[in-house]
């Protein structure tokens, strides 16, 4: 073997950099709100900018984002444990119901769509406590059921809305860009980057990162499970571009198996999540 040692100058400089990063982190507050994590299949659309997100972001002109008009005032209810909510009769022009579930305690929640969300202790005070979603208005459908652990407390606010769709725009390279909507995703999908910038990720890169493209290649459940195990706990960062699809403005992180998987029993009840205890899994602030 040739002398396989790290170059000392390189090593010293790297070491100094690492030590300084660790020391600096101690004086920083956690910056959770600036990172957008996606759980595996959990509200994948939530971190992508849709109608309401785009409005909140001041991007009213985001192409493809539906124009959403609230009809009437929001209704709020607070619950403990699983509940079926009577949403009331939809106004005639309503096309959808927008809901905001805010967790008041830790727990996991399962929605009729099959989606789930989880609140851990450190999520409770911030924006992470609120999960926003939308269900279409359907004739005769006036309730929705949300499952959770018996002791979990939560608040649900909902509003009937009118939804008017808009079209995606096209950049100089002929790529469509804009918000994810009923037509699916454009070639450049609007997101918020980890640095807080708004921009677009390439759909192809997003599908690779979320595993959407890979998932279509599985022939057996074993393949899917092995793949899932391999990705457990890993994160994938992809570039966020300006609408030109060239200028990089930040990065978007897709995270798999974020801590634990929510499981339900045969009756659709959420089982207690298997949270890592503080002694086996050091958890400290800062990212």
């Amino acid at each position: 073997m040739i002398d396989l040692r790290v170059d000392e100058g390189f090593s010293k400089a790297l070491r100094a950099e690492l030590v300084s990063r660790v020391n600096t982190a101690a004086s920083n507050q956690p910056r959770k709100a600036t990172r957008w994590w996606l759980g595996a299949g959990v509200f994948v659309g939530a971190a992508l900018l849709g109608g309401v997100g785009a409005t909140a972001a001041g991007l009213l002109t985001l192409p493809g984002a539906p124009i959403i008009t609230p009809l009437g005032t929001p209704t709020t209810e607070t619950h403990t444990g699983p509940a079926t909510i009577d949403l009331g009769t939809a106004p005639k022009e309503a096309k959808a119901i927008r809901l905001e579930m805010t967790c008041l305690t830790t727990g996991s929640w399962a929605y009729e769509s099959g989606a789930t969300s989880t609140c851990k202790q450190h999520d409770l005070d911030g924006r992470a406590a609120t999960t926003r979603f939308q269900i279409p208005v359907a004739p005769g459908k006036e309730t929705t059921t949300i499952n959770t652990q018996a002791q979990s407390q939560w608040r649900l606010t909902w509003t009937f809305v009118d939804v008017e769709s808009t079209d995606w725009a096209t950049n100089a390279n002929g790529e469509t860009y804009g918000a994810e909507n009923d037509n699916g995703q454009p070639e450049l999908v609007a997101v918020k980057a980890t640095n807080g910038e708004y921009g677009y990720v390439r759909k192809a890169e997003l599908d690779d990162a979320t595993g959407a493209s890979r998932a279509q290649t599985f022939r057996t459940p074993e393949e899917a499970l092995a793949w899932q195990a391999e990705r457990q706990g890993k994160s994938y960062a992809i570039d966020v571009y300006d609408s030109d699809g060239k200028t990089v403005v930040g990065e978007f992180v897709v995270q798999d198996g974020n801590g634990h998987v929510v499981e339900t029993d045969g009756n659709g009840h959420v089982l207690e999540p298997d949270l890592p205890s503080a002694s086996t899994m050091p958890r400290l602030g800062g990212l």
Partner: protein, 197 residues
């Protein structure tokens, strides 16, 4: 494993509270093995340095997800090193600016001499053989064959059952052997070796 030397838990916990000196000791402790593993996977010194740096930067960045195996961060580091080495360009882009700012030895000084060249050719064969493995199999081979971890410890880190890990190990070893089979030698060598019956 299990000796005092490989016991990282205390230093790791101190690092997590922002103790840079403790993290520095962890770096000193595992630097060479991470570097050698990176070299094994890419066969290039400069790239190995990038991988080494990226692995440790990732260790800090993803510290909330790091899993200790037998009180050591090394298995996690080796798995990350493997992942980074498999896709060096993508993995290092996040730290590019920083990596470029670190001082390097001159390339010429590193890659001079015939011995180095021959070694590089040999290394490349192994690098190519390892590239034929799936990511999980590569992790397993790295941890068990190169670094001497028990199959069960590697299985735990990779979320595999011990039985699945064993059968994967077996298949991966056969595959590497197959790829590393000596290619048919030129006729002259056959003459020299003879069969001497």
């Amino acid at each position: 494993m299990g000796n005092l030397e490989s016991h990282d838990a205390g230093l790791w916990t101190r690092s997590l509270t922002g103790d840079g000196a403790a993290f520095g000791v962890l770096f000193d402790r595992h630097r060479d093995r991470v570097f050698r593993h990176a070299y094994r996977l890419c066969g290039n010194r400069h790239t190995s340095e990038d991988i080494l740096a990226t692995a440790f930067l990732e260790l800090w960045k993803k510290r909330r997800k790091v899993k200790l195996v037998e009180h050591s961060i090394l298995p996690w580091l080796l798995v990350t090193t493997t992942n980074v080495a498999r896709n060096t360009n993508r993995a290092t882009v996040r730290y590019r600016k920083m990596l470029d700012a670190l001082p390097r030895q001159e390339e010429a000084q590193v890659d001079s001499g015939e011995a180095t060249y021959l070694q590089a050719v040999l290394d490349q064969d192994v690098v190519d053989a390892l590239k034929t493995l799936s990511p999980i199999d590569l992790h397993l081979i790295s941890l068990v064959v190169f670094e001497g971890y028990p199959v069960n410890a590697a299985a735990e880190l990779l979320n595999l059952s011990p039985a699945a890990a064993k059968s994967r190990m077996h298949r991966a070893r056969s595959k590497i052997k197959e790829v590393l089979q000596p290619k048919p030698a030129p006729p002259s060598q056959f003459v020299m070796e003879g069969n001497g019956s």
